[in-house]
C-alpha cells in the first residue's frame, strides 16, 4: 500500500498529498524499508543460484548457495565445523586475554604515572607504526609453527588498540572533576578509582571494539600459518580439494564471529556506560 502511495507522490507532487504520504512511510514504512534493504541481497543470491544452475559459474569457481547451505549443515552434523570453530575460538580467547590484559596494564602504567609514560609510551608509539601482521615471519622463527605464534599474533593485534585508547582516555580526564574529587577528600587511589578510570572507560571500550576486530583479522592471518585445525585450516584444506562451498562456509563463520564480537561489546557498553545520556532509558 505504501508503495502505491510513494509512486503516486512521485507523480503528483501536490503538498497536501505529500503530507499524506510522509506519514505512513515514517511509521509502518519502517518495516518496508528494512525489507527493501534485504531485497537486493536476495536478488543477488537468486541470480547467483540461477547462474550456478545454468552452468555459468563453475563449482570450482564458486559453489551454488544451496550447495553451500547443504555443506554447512553437513559440516555441522559431522562435528567438523564445531570442532574447528572451537579451536579458533580458543585461539581468539587466549590471544585476547593476553592482549587485552597487557594493553590495559601498560595503559595504566603509562597513564597514571609520569615515569611510566616515559618508559612505556615511546616504545608503544613506535611499535604502533609497524603493521603488526608484518611480524609473522619473525613470530614463526621465534615461536615455531604451533599454537604460540597464532596466539601471539592475536595478542599483539588486540593489545595496541586497547593501550592507545585507554591511555588517551586516562590522560583526557577532566581536570575540573579531579579538583572536585580532591576538595572532597579523595586520595590518589580514590581519584583513580572514582574519577580517572570511570572517565576513561568509554574510550577504553571503543578500544576493546577495535581490539576484537583486530583479533579476528589476526586470527585469519595466523591460521594461514600451517594450521592443523581451526576455521583457517578448514578453508586451506578445502582449497586443496577445490571445495569452494567449504571455503564460503568458513568465510561466513568468520563474518558471524565479527558480528558476535560487535554485539558483545555493545552489550558491555550498555551495562557499563548506563550513565551516558544516549543510553539512559526514558
Amino acid at each position: 500500500m505504501s508503495d502505491t502511495h510513494a509512486i503516486g507522490a512521485r507523480r503528483a507532487l501536490a503538498p497536501a498529498r505529500l503530507r499524506e504520504v510522509v506519514r505512513p512511510s515514517n511509521g509502518a514504512g519502517f518495516g518496508l524499508s528494512r525489507y527493501k534493504r534485504f531485497a537486493s541481497s536476495i536478488v543477488i543470491l537468486l541470480l547467483w543460484q540461477g547462474a550456478s544452475m545454468a552452468g555459468l559459474i563453475a563449482p570450482r569457481t564458486l559453489a551454488a548457495p544451496t550447495t553451500i547451505v547443504a555443506t554447512a549443515w553437513e559440516l555441522i552434523l559431522s562435528g567438523e565445523l564445531p570442532h574447528n570453530l572451537f579451536v579458533s575460538l580458543g585461539r581468539v580467547a587466549a590471544g585476547l586475554l593476553i592482549g587485552v590484559s597487557s594493553g590495559v596494564t601498560l595503559a595504566l602504567i603509562a597513564g597514571l604515572s609520569k615515569r611510566g609514560e616515559e618508559i612505556v609510551d615511546a616504545p608503544m608509539q613506535m611499535l604502533r607504526t609497524l603493521p603488526f601482521l608484518a611480524l609473522v615471519p619473525l613470530f614463526i622463527l621465534w615461536f615455531g609453527i604451533g599454537e604460540a605464534p597464532k596466539i601471539a599474533l592475536v595478542s599483539l593485534g588486540s593489545a595496541f588498540p586497547v593501550y592507545l585508547t585507554l591511555f588517551a582516555g586516562i590522560r583526557g580526564t577532566d581536570p575540573k572533576l579531579m579538583e572536585a574529587g580532591r576538595v572532597f577528600g579523595l586520595d590518589r587511589a580514590g581519584l583513580i578509582r572514582h574519577v580517572v578510570l570511570p572517565g576513561a572507560l568509554p574510550s577504553g571500550l571503543v578500544g576493546l571494539r577495535y581490539a576484537l576486530g583486530s583479533a579476528l583479522l589476526s586470527l585469519v592471518i595466523a591460521e594461514q600459518i600451517n594450521a592443523t585445525a581451526g576455521i583457517g585450516f578448514l578453508i586451506n584444506d578445502a582449497r586443496d580439494f577445490l571445495r569452494t562451498d567449504v571455503i564460503v562456509v568458513g568465510l561466513v563463520v568468520y563474518a558471524l564471529l565479527g558480528l558476535l564480537a560487535d554485539a558483545l561489546v555493545r552489550t558491555v557498553e550498555r551495562r557499563a556506560l548506563a550513565w551516558r545520556p544516549n543510553l539512559i532509558k526514558g
Binding site: 575540573k176 576538595v183 572532597f184 551516558r276 545520556p277
Partner: protein, 241 residues
C-alpha cells in the same frame, strides 16, 4: 562545633609568571560568619579561593590557618557523570552510613526525589543544589562558594539564595562566597570584601536584618558604595540604578 578556629590568612602572595595576582593579602573570617567577596574579573578571587580550598599549594611565606573541614562549590556543579546523585554526594565519605547521610543532605536541598538520577538528567539548578548537598554533607567549618549561581536563571537564583541562607543558618559554617553580583553580595552576606590589586581593598559590614529587600534605602546606599569601590563612575551607577 569541634573546630571553631578562625580562618586567618597573612601575607599571601601568588604570582603567575610576572603577573602578581595576590600581593601580601590578609584575611580574617569570624567563625560562622557569611562573607561575600567582590572584585573585578581577573582580580584573583578564584585564586584566593583555590588556595583556601587546598587546590593550590600555599606559598611558604604565607601564614594560613584553616579549619579541618573545608568544602567548595564551583561555578559548575562538577558532578561525576558516572555516579548517581546520591553516590556523588557520598563521594569520599567514610563509614557505613554514607548513603543515609547523602540522602539526608539531598533531602535538605529538595532533591529527595532524585537520589537515583544520573547527573546528566538534572537541570542546571538541580545539579547545583546537588553540588551544595555534596559540600554540606561533610559538615564543613568553612564553605567556599565560587560564583555558584552565575550560570542560573534569575528565578532559580532567587530560590538558591533562600536555600543557601537556610542551610547556612542550620549548619553554621563560615561561608565565603565569590560573586560578580553586588546585589547578591548585599542580599546574602554580613560582610562584603572587595579584592583589588592583590589585597582586600574594602571591608564593609552589612548591618541589615534579613530578609533584605532591594528597595531598602540602606540596601541602595550600600550597593552604590560597593559599585564605586569596584571602580564604576558615579554617573554610570546612577544610570544603572
Amino acid at each position: 562545633m569541634s573546630d571553631q578556629r578562625n580562618v586567618s590568612v597573612r601575607g599571601l602572595t601568588r604570582r603567575f609568571g610576572t603577573n602578581t595576582v595576590l600581593h601580601g593579602l590578609d584575611l580574617e573570617l569570624e567563625p560562622g560568619s557569611f562573607t561575600a567577596l567582590l572584585g573585578r574579573s581577573g582580580s584573583g578571587k578564584t585564586t584566593l579561593l583555590r588556595t583556601l580550598a587546598g587546590l593550590d599549594p600555599a606559598p611558604a611565606e604565607a601564614a594560613i590557618e584553616l579549619p579541618d573541614r573545608v568544602a567548595a562549590v564551583f561555578q559548575e556543579p562538577r558532578l561525576l557523570p558516572w555516579k548517581r546523585i546520591w553516590a556523588n554526594v557520598a563521594l569520599g565519605l567514610p563509614g557505613a552510613d554514607a548513603k543515609a547521610r547523602a540522602e539526608r543532605a539531598l533531602g535538605e536541598v529538595g532533591l529527595a526525589r532524585h537520589l537515583e538520577a544520573w547527573p546528566t538528567t538534572l537541570s542546571g539548578g538541580e545539579a547545583q543544589r546537588a553540588a551544595l548537598a555534596r559540600a554540606l554533607v561533610r559538615e564543613p567549618r568553612l564553605l567556599l562558594l565560587d560564583e555558584p549561581f552565575a550560570a542560573l536563571d534569575a528565578l532559580t537564583r532567587i530560590r538558591m539564595h533562600a536555600l543557601v541562607l537556610d542551610l547556612w543558618r542550620a549548619h553554621g559554617p563560615t561561608t565565603l562566597i565569590v560573586t560578580h553580583d553586588v546585589d547578591e553580595a548585599v542580599l546574602l552576606a554580613d560582610r562584603v570584601l572587595v579584592l583589588d590589586a592583590g589585597r582586600i581593598a574594602a571591608d564593609i559590614a552589612v548591618d541589615m536584618p534579613r530578609p533584605r529587600s532591594h528597595g531598602d534605602a540602606r540596601f541602595v546606599a550600600l550597593r552604590r558604595r560597593l559599585l564605586s569601590e569596584l571602580g564604576l563612575e558615579a554617573e554610570v551607577i546612577r544610570e544603572a540604578a
